[in-house]
Assembly symmetry: C2
Homo-oligomer: 166 residues x 2
C-alpha cells in the first residue's frame, strides 16, 4: 500500500514538474500544437523508457527466455502490469502482424481523475510515462516498437504497440 502510494506520488510529481504545474488551462489548450507540450510528453516518455528498461532487467533476471513475441506481450500484460499497476491488463488484442492493443479498463494513473469529459484533455500526460515504460521493457527484451496510448472513457485507456520489424 505504502509503496504503491510512493510510486503514484513520485509519478504525479514528475508529471507536474515536467509540465511545470502552474500552467493555466488556456495556455495548455494552446500548447497542444506547439513544441512545448510535445517536449514535456517526450521527456516523460523518456523517463518511462529508462525506468522500464532497467526494471525489466531486474524482474526477469531469474526467469527463463520467452518463447516468442506473443509470449513477451503476455508477460507485459500480466506480470509486469501487476508489479507496476497492481492489476492485469483486461484485454489483449493483436492482428498477428505486429500490432498489439492492451486495454486497461481502470488505469491506475487515471483512476483518481473524475470521470466525464472535463479532464479528458489532461489524460495524455498521465499516459506518456507508461508508453515509455512499455517501450523500455520491450526494448530490453529485444523488441523495437512504437507505443501510443488513447483514452476512450476515463479511467479506461488502451495502449497500442506497433512492433518495428527488420
Amino acid at each position: 500500500m505504502a509503496e504503491e502510494a510512493l510510486f503514484d506520488l513520485m509519478h504525479m510529481e514528475a508529471v507536474s514538474y515536467v509540465f511545470q504545474g502552474g500552467e493555466k488551462l488556456s495556455e495548455l489548450s494552446m500548447d497542444i500544437f506547439t513544441g512545448r507540450k510535445d517536449e514535456a510528453v517526450s521527456k516523460l516518455e523518456h523517463m518511462g523508457f529508462a525506468t522500464g528498461y532497467r526494471l525489466v532487467e531486474r524482474l526477469t533476471r531469474e526467469s527463463g527466455r520467452y518463447k516468442d513475441e506473443l509470449d513477451i506481450m503476455k508477460y507485459i500484460c500480466k506480470d509486469l502490469w501487476v508489479t507496476v499497476y497492481k492489476k492485469q491488463i483486461d484485454n489483449l488484442r493483436t492482428n498477428h502482424q505486429g500490432v498489439y492493443v492492451l486495454h486497461d479498463n481502470r488505469f491506475r494513473f487515471l483512476s483518481h481523475m473524475a470521470a466525464g469529459k472535463q479532464y479528458l484533455e489532461y489524460a495524455p500526460r498521465y499516459l506518456a510515462f507508461t508508453c515509455g515504460l512499455v517501450r523500455g521493457c520491450l526494448a530490453n527484451l529485444g523488441i523495437t516498437c512504437v507505443v501510443t496510448a488513447e483514452v476512450t472513457q476515463l479511467p479506461a485507456c488502451k495502449f497500442q504497440i506497433q512492433v518495428q520489424r527488420g
Copy 2:
C-alpha cells in the same frame, strides 16, 4: 523488491532529468556557486516535499496522535524510513532545543555509488529529494523546519532537522 526498484528508478530518473543528465563534470563543478545547480536541488527538494506531505497523510490516517515532537521524530526514523527506504535510521541525536540529527549508515540512494571520494561531489543531488520528503512529512504533522543533509563517507549520511519555533 519490485516496488523498491520502481521507486529507486523513478527517483534516479527525476534526479537525472532535473540535472539534465548530460552535464559534464567540469560544468558541474563550475555550477556549484551559480543559480543553476541550486535551482535543480530546490526542485528536487520541492518534489520530495510534495511527496512526503501526501505520503504521511496516507500512512498516518489510521494511527493516533503523537505525544510530542520527539515522538514524531521517532516515527520518521522508524516507520517512515522503513516504508520508504526499507531500513531504520541508525542513530537519532538531539540537543533538546529543536535540532535533530538522523544518521543513516547506508543510505539507500547512495548505496549504489562506489565508495571513495570520486563521486562525493555528486552525492548532494541524491539527498535533496529526501530532505524535502522529511520536511513535507513534518509539515503535515504540524512541525515547520529546515532540513539539510551531509555526506560524511559514502554511503553514510546524516540529515539535520532544525525545528522553527514560534
